[in-house]
Structures are given as C-alpha cells and as structure tokens.
C-alpha cells in the first residue's frame, strides 16, 4: 500500500487534499514557517483527505512545538530564518560510488541551495566508470576528487583532508537536502563544544513495501525535538540513536581531536556499515557534544526492492556489531558488552520471537533473520577488515 509524502506548512494549509488515488495512506511533514514541527500518518479515503481530519492530525502532530516556534518568532522576529552564525559557510561533501543517476538528482538539489559561499566536494570512491567524473564536471563550482582506497570511511577521511572550510557537511548520494539544511546545521556550531550536528531524514517516496519497512526500521533521525547529546545523557555504546551518516556535519579538527574515521568500517569493507556510529561514539566518549537538530532536514530515497532491503539490514547488523567490537578492542568501552547483550536479547530475540509467533506489530521474519545473521558475522568482519587493511598498508609501504 503505497504512501504519499506530503510537505505542508501550517501557514498555508489547504482546506483539503485530493488527487491521491494511487495511495492508501499519506505521511505528512508539518512545518511552521519552514521549520519542521511534526509528522503524521493519515488514511486516504477515496483519493482524498478531508479537511477536519487533516487539521486535527496536523495540530496534534505539531503539538507544543508549534506554539513554541510561534512565540519564538513573535519575541524575536529575526528567528524566522536562522541568521548567519559565526561559521558562515561549510564544505558539503558527497561520497559516491557508481551511482550516477542518484548522484545527479542530489547535485541538482545541491545547486538549488542558497548560495552561502559553500564549497561542494564530490569524493568518488573507486567508481568503475567515468560517468561520475563527467557528471561532476558538468556542474561548475563543484569539485571532483577521486579516492583510490575502497571504503566509505576512506572517502570521508579524504573529504576531511581536502575540504577548504572548517565545517564539513556529509550527505549521502541518494539523499537531497532541504533549502534550509545547511543554515540549520551551521547554526548549531556556535557552541565550541559541539563537534558534530546530525539532522532529521524523511523518506523521498514510500511506493514499495520494502521502502515502508525500511522507514519503520530505519536508524535515521526521527524526532522533532532538538536534543544536545553528550556523555552525560548518551552512552558511547548507544551512539546509534544520535544520528546517521546520511545527514551529519563535523568540524574539520575532529581528526586532530579524536582521530579520523576508522577505514576498516562502513560500506566498501567487510563490515558494510557502522562507520558513522563509531565516530559519533568516539566524540561522545571524548566529552564533546553532538546536536540533533530537526531543522536540518534532508530527504532520502530508500531502497526499492525487498532483496536490497534485506541486504541493507544484513549490512546494519554486521556494522553494528563490528562497531561494538572496535569499541571493545580499541577504545576499551566495557559498556559495549552490556549494550550488545541487552540489544540482542531485548530487541532482536524478542523481535524474532514475535515474528515467529505471528504477534501483531511483528516485523517480517526474513528481515529479522538477515539482521541476526549480520550480527553474528559482525565482530569477525571487523577483525577481517582490519587485517585486510594492514596488509594493504604493508603492501603500500614496500
């Protein structure tokens, strides 16, 4: 049952919505003067959503945040748009590999952002063809860099090295930013203790079942409340709930403070994911702050087929446990053991059990099993990845 995605602003709410005959549900992102304040699912009946239901759901979803935003603008009219912060601009880095179609849409959207003097850097991670380079060259004011070492984290490290500005904002190649995305991100870096800002990610489309399940499962930023995370309120081993690599920005000096991204993790290596979570956990452990700001919104295109979804969830399973393995071995985070066991028993086993017993609200069994398989492989994947890397490094040095 496909779900329509609607983006509505309370200051311009239509009396009713029609023309949704293809859909059985709608996911509505509610904004007030551009700032996202809530989201709601509504059933679509006969291709339309009646006014009373729309209004009721939208007001309920926005809640107190709506009034808070209103009062904020009433008291400080300059808060209508986030003003220029101390950090005027940033480098936007997109790491990509062999996906020229998605990348092209992403670049179009990046072009449409307000010009704040930002630099756009595309890091091509061992693409097999030349299409990516030609695509980037066709857009002027975008830089192209090719990174020879395979691995998403290697590409991210390269981006951090090549960037010319102090702040680097990462975006996945299958995501597109919202117009206020960059400004909202930069605004949060005024606090010198903040070294990373993550944002909210909404789905671009929910046409297939795989996409709907991904949306339910997804580790992407979800809430509409701005939260500041530090080691006081978030343990490093549960850094996953802070944000995801699809929408995050760092200060360049994070490399000096806590070290670069671990190139043994994330896509392109046997561990498949977890590279972003690992950096977030390291930042938390070192006492820095991470801000989750829903105003920094971007839209992600989820995988369309079921097979890809299974593959992705397997990857998440591997990555999560690989990250925990690294935290245990390298950072000596003993809390990882507790986190891993509680996650395993309370979340995964319970999910599998619910699935097997066919309880309501269960997740598909094959997805859960895929993730579980990933979990068992995870720690070994990390060790394997590390060994591969050291071997490559040894070869390079010779």
């Amino acid at each position: 049952m496909p779900t329509a995605i609607l983006d509505l602003d309370l200051s311009r709410l239509p009396p009713e919505i029609t023309g949704l005959h293809r859909y059985s549900r709608a996911l509505i992102l509610v904004r007030l003067w551009g700032r996202p304040v809530g989201s709601a699912y509504l059933p679509v009946i006969n291709g339309s959503i009646a006014g009373t239901e729309l209004r009721g759901a939208v007001i309920h979803a926005a809640g107190w945040r709506l009034w808070h935003r209103w009062l904020e603008v009433y008291l400080r009219p300059e808060n209508l748009r986030p003003t220029h912060s101390t950090h005027q601009t940033a480098t936007i880095a997109v790491c990509t590999r062999d996906r020229p179609a998605e990348l092209s849409r992403c670049l179009e959207a990046l072009n449409r952002l307000f010009d704040e003097g930002q630099e756009i850097l595309i890091v091509d991670n061992c693409s097999k063809t030349d299409e990516t380079r030609c695509l980037v060259k066709s857009h002027d004011r975008m830089r192209y860099v090719r990174e020879g070492k395979p691995g998403l984290n290697a590409a991210r490290n390269r981006a951090l090295r090549e960037a010319r500005q102090d702040i680097v904002a990462f975006m996945d190649d299958d995501a597109i930013p919202d117009p206020d995305w960059l400004r909202a991100l930069l605004h949060n870096f005024d606090d010198p203790l903040v070294f990373c800002v993550t944002g909210l990610t909404m789905p671009l489309e929910l046409e297939t079942e795989a996409q709907e399940w991904f949306e339910r499962y997804s580790p992407f930023g979800r809430g509409f409340q701005r939260v500041i995370y530090d080691s006081g309120n978030c343990r490093p081993s549960s850094a996953g709930r802070v944000g995801a690599g699809v929408n995050m920005a760092f200060r360049r000096e994070v490399v000096d403070r806590v070290g670069p991204f671990d190139e043994a993790l994330d896509a392109g290596t046997p561990t498949r994911s977890g590279g972003d979570t690992e950096m977030l956990s390291r930042l938390l452990a070192a006492g820095y702050r991470i801000v989750y700001d829903p105003a920094a919104l971007n839209w992600h295109l989820h995988r369309r087929t079921w097979k890809e979804l299974r593959h992705t969830l397997y990857g998440y399973g591997v990555g999560l446990y690989a990250f925990w393995m690294r935290a245990l071995l390298v950072e000596r985070e003993w809390s990882v053991l507790k986190a891993a066991s509680s996650w395993f028993f309370r979340y995964q086993m319970r999910g599998v059990l619910a699935s097997v017993l066919k309880r309501p609200g269960r997740r598909p069994l094959d997805l859960m099993l895929a993730e579980l398989r990933g979990c068992f492989w995870g720690p070994w994947a990390y060790l394997l990845s590390r060994r591969l890397r050291s071997r490559v490094r040894a070869c390079d040095e010779q």
């Binding site: 709410l13 003067w33 008291l75 606090d191 000096d256 006492g287 950072e331």
Partner: protein, 424 residues
C-alpha cells in the same frame, strides 16, 4: 614616553616561571599598541627562578616587578593595582596565554561604554589524544559557562567574574575596595558580589581570548575543594543573602552520596587522607575501565568530603554549621524595586522600562491577564531590557501564550506569512 599608560596588566604569580614566560611572550605579541600598556608582575613569595627570569627578560612593553611575601592572589592583585598607573586595570593569571587581540578586545569593550566590568574568554587548552574524565569534565564545565555567557540576554551573576581574565577601571576598583584579603580562593567571586551590589554592569567579551593552561589533577582538585569550603563560609558571613545558593546550604543536593561526606568530614577528619588515597586508586581503575557514571559519583563524593572538611575547619561542628545556615534567611534585605510591566504597551516599551528602573524582580502582565513574575535572585545583576525576551521564551512561554489568546491578540491571522505580524 612619559604619558600615562592606558592599560595596566596585573599578573600575580607564585612559582610558575615556565608558564609566566609563555604569558609574557604572548603579551609581547599583542595587537594593542605596546607603548600604551604596562605590565606589573607581582611575585607572591616566589622561591624559584621567577624573579631572575623577570629581570632577564627584555620586553617591548614596560614591565614592573613587585615582590612581596607569600600572601595569596588577592593580596598580590591589590598590590599590583596599587602600583598601577593605567586608567584600566586588566587582571591576568600567570597560566593564561593571551591571544593577540586580547587587550584590544578589552579596551574596545571599555571604549563602548565606560564604568563596566569586562570578562574575557578563557578557553581551556586541550591536550590532544586521549583525555581522562577529569580534564574532559573540567573543559566542558568551562566551555559551558562561557557559552551561556555569550547568549543574548544572559543575566550575569557574581560567580561570572573570573579572576584570571577580567578588566575594569582603576577608579572603580579603588571605589569598591579591591579584593578581600581574607579569601584564599573565590576572592574573585566575592569581588563580583560587591560589584553587583554596586550596580556595575558586566560584559562578556568573547574576543578577549586567553588560553587557559590549567594544570589540574585529582589531588589538586580536592585541595581546591577544601579551600572552597572555607571560602564559602566566609562568603556566607560576608554576604548572607547568598547562603541559600551556596552548596553548603543543601548537603543532600551536593553529592549523590548525600550526607555521608559532610558527616564524615565533621566527625572523623583523621580518616580523610587515608580514605582519599584508597579511593583515588579506585578512581584510577574506573577511569581505566571507562566507567564514567561511577567515576563521576565517586569523585563527587570525594569532592563533597573535602568541601565539608573546609567548612568544618571554619565552623567547627555540625551544630555550628546548621546555626550558621539559619542566619541567612533572617537577614535578607532585598531592597531594590519590584515593578510591574504590562506587555500590552509593546515589548520594546517594556524593555525600556526595565532599562530605566533596573528592578530586582518583576511582575509581568498582559492587560488584564497576569503572566508570571521574575523573582529576585540574590547575587544576580538587576534586570535589564535584554533579559526580558529570553525569560519569556524559556520559563513563561505557556502562560504568555495563554494570556495572548485570552486577550484576543491571537485573533488576527497568526498563521499567515510574517509580513503582517502583530507585535507593536
């Protein structure tokens, strides 16, 4: 040049020659014209090579060396101020490495408006690589304070005056009487309290950056807590209205372990050193095991213990402590006006009233509807116009909105684009 210098930088120092050298080098690189400033280093009973270093050094600015017996930073600063000839006094600690624009920023802030106290930014210097919990906690504490001070509409308190990097007019300093010599620590807070009472404006200059090379370890932090305990007793005696705010007023809240540290401190002080030594090993283990929660709690308990040891030294017994606490509320003077403002006149008008009257507390209403009140806070500066909006947004948001709704202000379309907005 025989003209009087504009700024006198007073640096008290005690046996920290290496740091002092770095400080002086940094001062030599200031963007501020060096001929308009003088530096007075007060050697507070130094037994190392500080004095030789000072005599040896060849500074592009005028450097005066003052020697005195070891009496503490308060006395050293007062002494330095006495010998200073500049119109402005800038107090700097010997472990502060000034950024090139530090003095310039202070001077500019004073030029904008005279008669204020300018507090500089002291970002702690972070050793790269792995940092232990103690330093991480300290760094976050410092940066958190400065970040708060930077927010528009921040209401300054006596404890915002940091002796390591602040400046004020020399007449003002003389008028309030300088530092209080009986304080070995928190002498800056005590001066801050007197300045607040005198109605002096505080200002935070984020460009006046001085990198703080704080050498801190666990032992030193406990020793500092001990001194703080003593200082707080003196502070309570000197300014009784602050008693309710000080940690010694609520032993339970001070540490997770509750009243145990205070009881121990009073009853068996002899066990203190031994217990600390043992628990310090435990802390080291927790640090190694990266168990931050437990580490925090244990350190909190130890800090509380040493704090109460300091209090015990001044007050003697628990009963004396509780009777000391009683003296506070009875002597709450709290003159200073309490006014009422009506937001229907407009936000700007209300801010102007606040700037004029500088009340200690305010009742806020919107026409007929009562919104709330900003209570008087001992130790905080009187209210100003810029304080109004943040307070409304933070604490009184709900009541303000309801008042606006009931007064019919929200009748006009509030959800349109902001071009037709409705504040006056």
């Amino acid at each position: 040049m025989s003209s009087k210098p504009l700024i006198s930088v007073v640096i008290p120092t005690h046996n920290r020659s290496a740091l002092l050298e770095r400080t002086l080098t940094a001062l030599a690189g200031q963007t501020f014209p060096l001929q308009d400033m003088e530096v007075l280093v007060v050697s507070d009973g130094c037994t190392d090579e500080t004095v030789e270093l000072l005599h040896r050094s060849n500074t592009p600015f005028s450097l005066k060396i003052i020697k005195q017996a070891h009496q503490g930073p308060a006395a050293a600063r007062n002494r330095g101020a006495m010998h200073a000839m500049g119109r402005l006094l800038l107090f700097l600690d010997d472990d502060i490495e000034a950024s090139p624009s530090l003095i310039d920023a202070h001077a500019r802030a004073h030029n904008e408006r005279s008669g204020r106290v300018v507090i500089g930014y002291l970002p702690p210097v972070v050793p790269s690589g792995r940092i232990d919990f103690l330093h991480v906690g300290l760094r976050n504490w410092w940066e958190g304070r400065f970040y708060e001070m930077r927010q528009p509409g921040y209401r300054f308190r006596y404890s915002d005056l940091l002796g390591g990097n602040f400046s004020l007019g020399s007449e003002l300093f003389a008028r309030v009487g300088g530092f209080d010599l009986s304080f070995r620590t928190h002498e800056d807070y005590e001066l801050g309290m007197r300045l607040i009472k005198a109605g002096v404006d505080f200002f935070f200059a984020v460009d006046a950056r001085g990198y703080h090379h704080e050498a801190m370890d666990l032992n030193r932090s406990f020793a500092r807590k001990y001194e703080e305990g003593q200082a707080d007793v003196l502070m309570g005696r000197r300014h009784p209205e602050l008693l309710s705010l000080l940690p010694l007023a609520c032993p339970k809240a001070y540490s997770f372990l509750g009243v145990i540290p205070s009881a121990l401190a009073f009853k068996c002080p002899a066990a203190g050193l031994a217990m600390t030594a043992v628990l310090r090993q435990a802390l080291a283990f927790l640090q190694w095991a990266r168990m931050r929660g437990l580490w925090d709690r244990l350190r909190g308990g130890l800090c509380a213990y040493w704090y109460w040891r300091g209090v015990a030294e001044k007050l003697g017994s628990l009963s004396a402590a509780s009777s000391f606490l009683q003296t506070g509320p009875a002597r709450l003077p709290e003159e200073g006006c309490e006014i009422e403002i009506d937001l229907r006149e407009g936000l700007e008008a209300s801010e102007r009233i606040l700037d004029q009257k500088r009340p200690k507390s305010v009742h806020i209403r919107f026409a007929q509807q009562f919104i709330g009140s900003i209570d008087s806070q001992p130790g905080a500066e009187p209210l100003r116009g810029v304080h109004l909006r943040p307070i409304l947004l933070a604490g009184l948001a709900k009541r303000m909105l309801i008042a606006l709704a009931m007064e019919g202000v929200l009748d006009n379309p509030i959800l349109r684009n902001r071009s037709d907005c409705l504040w006056r």
